[in-house]
């Protein structure tokens, strides 16, 4: 048994249990949470290094041989995603220390966050499609409670939509898994990849592919299944929104990538063309939705949708360069999106509002924060030399190579619109003259300095990371390329999981 594969699941679990034991001691919970997140990040980096040097890792839980037992497997994509999960967990942990109110803390905020991280890591590492369902449920239940924790009216309204849509998606996913088992007689993903190519009922396999597309599509918030996201993501506290924005929809994208590179590759002419169409429409609707909004969190929520389109686009083009672009985009997007939400939280801390109309003059009041907003915002829009530029560059180049000009034009136009809506936030919140302060607003703007500076620690770290990825694009892109290579040639994955027969 390979400890590196089990620890990313065990560490958050152990931390959550320990934190539950200290239910009444919030200080202890904070310390435990921070230590757990740091340990997760360390183990994740170790896993990535190990996978990079020694190839794909697999381990059989309980020593049952591969198609019968439960398999944990990490290829480069999984390892990268686990590292990102650890990184976001840690960044949000630091941010939470300064921003989450005592009432939420005493209702188990930190243990829930750890359970969420456990579910996310489990979903990335599992090699069994039914276990993927189980991990999805683990992370969903934690996220349900996190959305509703606090019990404010918008939160509960958002939570009902979030819970409903995710449960529908889970029911579809379960039905699809059941039918898949009936068709192929196995649930191990590596074994399924072999068995599905032997099934001579293409219609049934295609129907299954579509069921999975819808089930994961809801979770990843692609067009036309994204409406729950902008209705619920902006309701919980910012730290929660940030980790949801960074990680949760990306679990859906990861599942889509896994399923449509490993299992359903029989008729790529149809499935991947359909995904390409969805990708284009997702980009456009997301960015147009964002253009209509006047509230920072809602603008950012719609941008999540729009950016999902780019990731799906790489999957749809299905060339080595395009998939490398998708992996790079995932890395860039998780960091940048979490960061933008965190900056939004800092803005709220200073001014007590997310409405663009009520903000203004922040550039004068907090020039540092203005710069920290500008870095991820420009990176999201794809301005060189930040990380977003290289991600988009790879995708556009792959699109041109595949001669899919329409999607390339869409991607470029959407980038332009992204610049527009980032500049809208910039102009309204930072640049524009501040409105004369009324008596009521004075209280909100007197923020205590210590917790404000604390909020800026993770924001600064993530912004630096964005710049570093942009400047050191070559080694990072080499990593993405190798991950894409493993996705396109699943032979090594199958061989590692099933043994050398």
């Amino acid at each position: 048994m390979n400890a590196l594969l089990v620890l990313p699941i065990l560490i958050p679990l152990a931390t959550a249990i320990l934190a539950l034991l200290f239910w009444n001691y919030r200080r202890v919970q904070r310390g435990l949470h921070l230590a757990g997140a740091a340990a997760l990040l360390a183990v994740a980096v170790g896993l990535l290094v190990s996978v990079w040097h020694q190839g794909i890792h697999a381990t059989q839980i309980g020593n049952w041989p591969a198609p019968f037992g439960i398999t944990l497997v990490a290829d480069l994509l999984s390892a990268i995603m686990v590292v990102l999960a650890g990184l976001m967990g840690f960044a949000v942990a630091v941010y939470s220390l300064f921003s989450i109110d005592a009432r939420r803390e005493s209702f188990g905020y930190y243990p829930l966050l750890q359970v969420l991280l456990m579910g996310v890591c489990g979903a990335f590492l599992t090699g069994d499609i039914f276990n993927l369902y189980v991990w999805f449920e683990v992370l969903l239940i934690a996220s349900f409670v996190l959305v509703a924790l606090g019990g404010e009216r918008p939160q509960l309204e958002g939570a009902i939509k979030y819970v409903t849509l995710n449960l529908v998606s889970s029911a579809l996913f379960l039905a699809a898994v059941g039918i898949l088992y009936g068709v192929a007689g196995t649930l191990n993903m590596a074994d399924l990849a072999r068995q599905l190519s032997l099934v001579d009922r293409p219609g049934l396999v295609m129907a299954l592919a579509m069921l999975f597309l819808v089930a994961f599509g809801i979770k990843a918030a692609v067009f036309p299944l994204f409406f729950w996201l902008p209705a619920s993501y902006h309701t919980p506290p910012l730290a929660v929104s940030a980790i949801f924005a960074g990680l949760l929809t990306k679990v859906g994208v990861y599942a889509l990538i896994r399923v449509f590179t490993l299992l359903f590759v029989q008729d790529t002419g149809f499935t991947h063309q359909l995904i390409l169409l969805i990708a284009g429409l997702t980009m456009i609707t997301g960015v147009l939705g964002a253009a209509a909004q006047q509230e920072i969190r809602r603008i950012l929520s719609f941008h999540i949708v729009s950016q999902i389109g780019y990731m799906i686009m790489g999957l749809a083009l299905f060339t080595p360069l395009a998939l490398a672009g998708t992996v790079f985009y995932l890395m860039h997007h998780i960091i940048v999106k979490t960061n933008l939400f965190l900056v939004g939280g800092a803005v709220h801390h200073l001014r007590g509002s997310y409405e663009l109309k009520k903000l203004g003059g922040l550039y004068r009041a907090a020039p540092g924060l203005a710069i920290l907003f500008l870095i991820p915002a420009l990176s999201l829009a794809g301005v060189p030399p930040l990380s977003g530029f290289w991600a988009k560059f790879a995708l556009v180049k792959a699109g041109l190579q595949s001669e899919e000009y329409l999607i390339v034009i869409t991607a470029l136009a959407v980038s332009l619109l992204t610049v527009f809506s980032m500049m809208k936030i910039w102009a309204a919140a930072f640049w524009q003259e501040e409105e004369p302060v009324q008596a009521g607003q004075e209280a909100a703007s007197t923020a205590d300095d210590r917790s404000y500076r604390g909020l800026l620690i993770p924001v600064t770290a993530l912004a630096v990371l964005t710049v570093v990825i942009g400047l050191l694009a070559e080694p990072v892109f080499a990593l993405a390329e190798r991950a894409a290579g493993q996705l396109l040639n699943p032979a090594e994955y199958i061989k590692t999981v099933l043994g050398a027969d």
Binding site: I141, G151, L156, I160, A171, Y181, A231, S232
Partner: protein
Amino acid sequence: METVLAVVIGGLYAAGLYLMLRRSIVKLILGLAILGHAANLLVFTVGRLTPSQPPIVLPGATTPAEPFADPLPQALILTAIVIGFGVQAFALVLLKRAYQTVGTDDLDEMKSTDT
């Protein structure tokens, strides 16, 4: 037997979806529960219905005596039922809190967060 179950599953899906399209949250959650049961039954049926023995390995043998029923779909359903119970319990609590906070159980009046 498969045909009967297929009709039952179809009926459950239809009932679940119909309830989810109503405006009351109580019906929404009932609909979700029924949808979950429909999925469970589907998994059960797709795992093949055969009149065979339970898959128990007798003392001294290494494999169960043929013909034996496939235990895996039942294990899957067991897991799914447990998860479903947990989620439905949470949904009921959420419903109660939402009713207390918002003061209505009409979904059409819960759209302040819609965009």
